[in-house]
Amino acid sequence: MKVLYFAWLRQRIGIGEEAVDPPADVTTPRALVDWLVAKGGGYEKAFADTSAIKVAINQEFADYDAPIGKGDEVAFFPPVTGG
């Protein structure tokens, strides 16, 4: 599973992209966050308030309880501020 982080999430975590292989019970972005946060460090700090963090699955906005699997690209980022 490919995970991407943008803006201040990327800065807090220290990387913009990584390939992860979470356990089989990580089937949603919510479970993925919990699994990442358990690693501590930057993840814990970055995901302290997920209400301010958007999720995209395969480049589509998605909910924290949407299904995800091995081949998916999951991105976490703050609300967008372009334009």
Binding site: F6, Q59, P78, G82, G83
Partner: protein, 150 residues
């Protein structure tokens, strides 16, 4: 219909000219350009950097442009959005919509900007005198988008 995501500057006048050229059905063209300001939320800004999500950005912009063309009767449309580091007064974004009559051009152009502001994965970080800070999203942008909901 065209969407471009690029680092470099572009010539707004040349883009608009190319957009309408050869189509005498166009009676009105509405174009919006967003520019880097040197002050934001009370702090001076020396440079602005835009980060984006390559792939998803293009997909979202194309979807926004397609939706504008579905809602209004357009002869031509264009979205160009830059990323990377820019100075005050530089153009960040251009949305343009051309139609036989002006109402459709205005509505479509504003619709594309309002959607882009809340749905295109770009993030701004400002370099102020005291270091960098990520720009917060605005409730007013969310509200501007909501009014287009049917």
């Amino acid at each position: 219909m065209a969407v471009r995501v690029q680092r470099g500057e572009f010539d707004v006048g040349a883009e608009l000219k190319a957009l309408t050229k050869g189509n005498p059905q166009i009676g009105g063209l509405c174009a919006f350009t967003g520019l880097v300001r040197d002050v934001n939320d009370g702090a001076s800004v020396s440079t602005l950097t835009l980060e984006h999500y390559p792939g998803m950005t293009e997909k979202m912009l194309e979807r926004i442009e397609a939706e504008a063309n579905k809602r209004w009767d357009l002869e031509a449309s264009l979205i160009i959005h830059r990323y990377g580091t820019m100075n005050p007064e530089e153009v960040i974004v251009l949305t343009a919509a051309a139609s036989s009559h002006r109402g459709d051009a205005f509505a479509a152009c504003q619709f594309m900007m309002d959607y882009l502001k809340t749905e295109a994965p770009f993030w701004k970080v400002e370099d102020t005198g005291d270091g960098t800070r990520w720009v917060d999203s605005r409730d007013s942008d969310q509200a501007a988008r909501e009014r287009w909901k049917d």
